[in-house]
């Protein structure tokens, strides 16, 4: 059904679902840290921004138009950022981790905002799809009414990458490395007494997480056509946290479901009320209090009980 989606649903909905898929990739990355390593990051917007701005800057200053090159460049930048921020954030307690990630993503926001001669400031940088090429130049979008074609092609492109990411992340969390992360989450002391160098593994997790979320940012920006400092601003990090909690961060598919669901909720809710953030906050509080396993987690539990 996913494969036939564009034909069935039309351009608007395809675009919406594509947004959802990019957010799902971000959620996968985020949850490696929260669900599997026990680290709550309030600054993942930093990676969305790193990915998105890499694309925009490469297009603007280096004249790049190949999506593959964007992905390469953006992933390298996100990895570098994660490596650097990781060194600062993971060496300490989990509370400091939360504090530092929030703070450092805000630092990036102020930089994007203030160095406006490079980043375009609040106006941002445009990333028009007409200048984009997929599959090494095979697919291009010239012409005035190329938009529907772009949306359809891009949807399949993102869907493919989403599948790759999901499989990759599944392998990672089920691997010995993934088990080690979970051990660190469950009992840091014991893991240490097995000879595991705690901060090093957290750093690896942070690196992988940053790359996945960076990729999400890279894929998101051509859809949006524009990148502004807003992508780095703290509510973006808050949204990522929200998807994971909504879907349930203690299982693999929860954040994916949460991201896609949130994507739709946001579109409809923003049309209905201007107090979207309050609603989000209240829902978050309610979720954490009454439904900590999230939607998927609770469904799984319910399923187990009914058996």
């Amino acid at each position: 059904m996913l494969l036939a989606f564009p034909a069935l649903a039309g351009t608007y909905h395809t675009q919406l679902l594509t947004y959802g898929l990019t957010l799902a990739i971000a959620a996968l990355g985020f949850n490696l840290l929260l669900g599997y390593t026990g680290l709550l990051s309030f600054g993942h917007s930093a990676f969305l921004g790193a990915g998105a701005y890499s694309v925009a800057l490469m297009m603007r200053y280096l004249g790049v138009s190949s999506m593959e090159l964007f992905i390469l460049g953006g992933v390298v930048c996100s990895a570098a950022l994660a490596a650097l921020l990781g060194v600062v954030c993971v060496r300490h307690t989990r509370i400091f981790f939360a504090i530092l990630t929030l703070a450092l993503s805000q630092v990036l926001w102020t930089l994007a905002y203030k160095f406006f001669w490079i980043t375009g400031g609040t106006d941002g940088l445009r990333v028009p799809f007409s200048q984009l090429s997929l599959l090494g130049g095979l697919v291009r979008f010239p012409g005035a009414d190329a938009f529907p074609k772009f949306i359809t092609s891009y949807y399949y492109y993102v869907l493919a990458l989403f599948c790759v990411c999901t499989v990759l992340m599944w392998l990672i969390v089920h691997s010995p490395f993934g088990k080690t992360l979970q051990a660190i989450r469950d009992n840091e002391t014991r893991a240490r007494f097995l000879g595991v160098r705690i901060w090093r593994y957290r750093w690896y997790a942070f690196l992988v997480s940053g790359i996945f979320t960076g990729l999400a940012g890279i894929l998101w920006v051509p859809l949006n056509g524009l990148v502004t400092p807003d992508v780095l601003y703290w509510p973006q990090s808050g949204k990522i946290v929200f998807f994971a909690v909504l879907g349930g961060f203690r299982n693999f598919t929860g954040p994916i479901v949460g991201a896609v669901l949130f994507n739709y909720l946001e579109v409809y809710a923003v049309a209905v009320t201007q107090y979207w953030q309050i609603t989000l906050g209240v829902i978050l509080i309610v979720l954490v209090t009454f439904l900590p396993a999230g939607i998927v987690g609770s469904a799984v539990r319910l399923g187990a009980k009914l058996k």
């Binding site: 691997s175 010995p176 490395f177 993934g178 088990k179 080690t180 469950d186 014991r190 240490r192 007494f193």
Partner: protein, 249 residues
């Protein structure tokens, strides 16, 4: 051969002399008990050796290697492992995973990130085998959190044992379990550990357990060694009787 040697090891907490000049020698192949009243310093001594704490003064040697200031992971590499008095497990992982993790850590395989852990047949087999030896093989797929207290204690020891250390410290492996379970646990632990040829130091309060299972008994009192020798000798020692057993011989 001397496996472990401490030299004038000291650790004070303010006025409390938890470990007050201890020369502790452990030889390969021994199964010894470390006993003493509460606050005698047993746990502190083990904490110092396993890098949970750093000493105020003194030295610790594994073989010829000075590990006094070595961080935890280096001591593990040197061959020390420990279990914990208050059970310390990876509660949300399966019983099998708990032990498998030790093996992955030991084998340096914890960085492998692209193949599922279950696929590593060698590790899975070794882990299952170990669980069988410890008598909890039937619970391999259960979540660690869901085990009974006695089983959790056994798992705690198994996780430490899976590191195949040279020297294994067991911190009160029978505390918090019923008398009947105690015997069963010690039987299992003792036979597995001795069967594996691993040198063990067991902190224990229950003197019956101590006398039944150990080759050698070391008695601590107020941070120092009071007596050190085979069980019969310790039993006859009047100082020990006075301080530890509360009787006048």
């Amino acid at each position: 051969m001397t496996l472990l040697r401490t030299q004038a090891l000291k650790k004070h907490f303010g006025d409390t002399r938890a470990v007050d000049g201890v020369d502790f020698v452990v030889n390969e192949g021994e199964f010894l008990s470390l006993v003493g009243t509460n606050g005698a310093g047993k746990t502190t001594l083990v904490n110092l050796i396993s890098a949970f704490l750093l000493p105020d003064s003194g030295k610790i040697f594994i073989g010829d290697r000075d590990i006094t200031h070595a961080p935890v992971h280096q001591r593990i590499r040197a061959g020390i492992a420990r279990s914990f008095q208050l059970v310390n497990l990876f509660d949300d992982l399966s019983v099998l995973d708990n032990v498998a993790l030790s093996i992955f850590a030991r084998e340096g395989k914890t960085r492998r990130f692209l193949a599922p852990a279950e696929r590593d047949a060698a590790v899975t087999q070794e882990a299952s085998g170990l669980l069988e030896q410890f008598g909890i093989g039937a619970k391999a797929q259960a979540t660690a959190r869901d085990l009974a207290q006695g089983e959790r204690k056994l798992l705690d020891v198994a996780v430490a044992y899976a590191l195949r250390p040279k020297l294994l410290f067991l911190d009160e492996p029978t505390s918090g379990v019923s008398t009947r379970d105690k015997a069963q646990i010690m039987d299992t632990v003792s036979s597995v550990v001795r069967g594996g040829g691993i040198t063990a130091v067991v902190i224990e309060h229950d003197m019956d357990v101590v006398f039944k299972y150990s080759d050698r008994v070391v008695v601590m009192h107020e941070g120092r060694f009071l007596a050190d020798g085979p069980p019969e000798e310790i039993r006859r020692n009047s100082d020990v009787a006075k301080y530890l057993l509360g009787t006048d011989v």
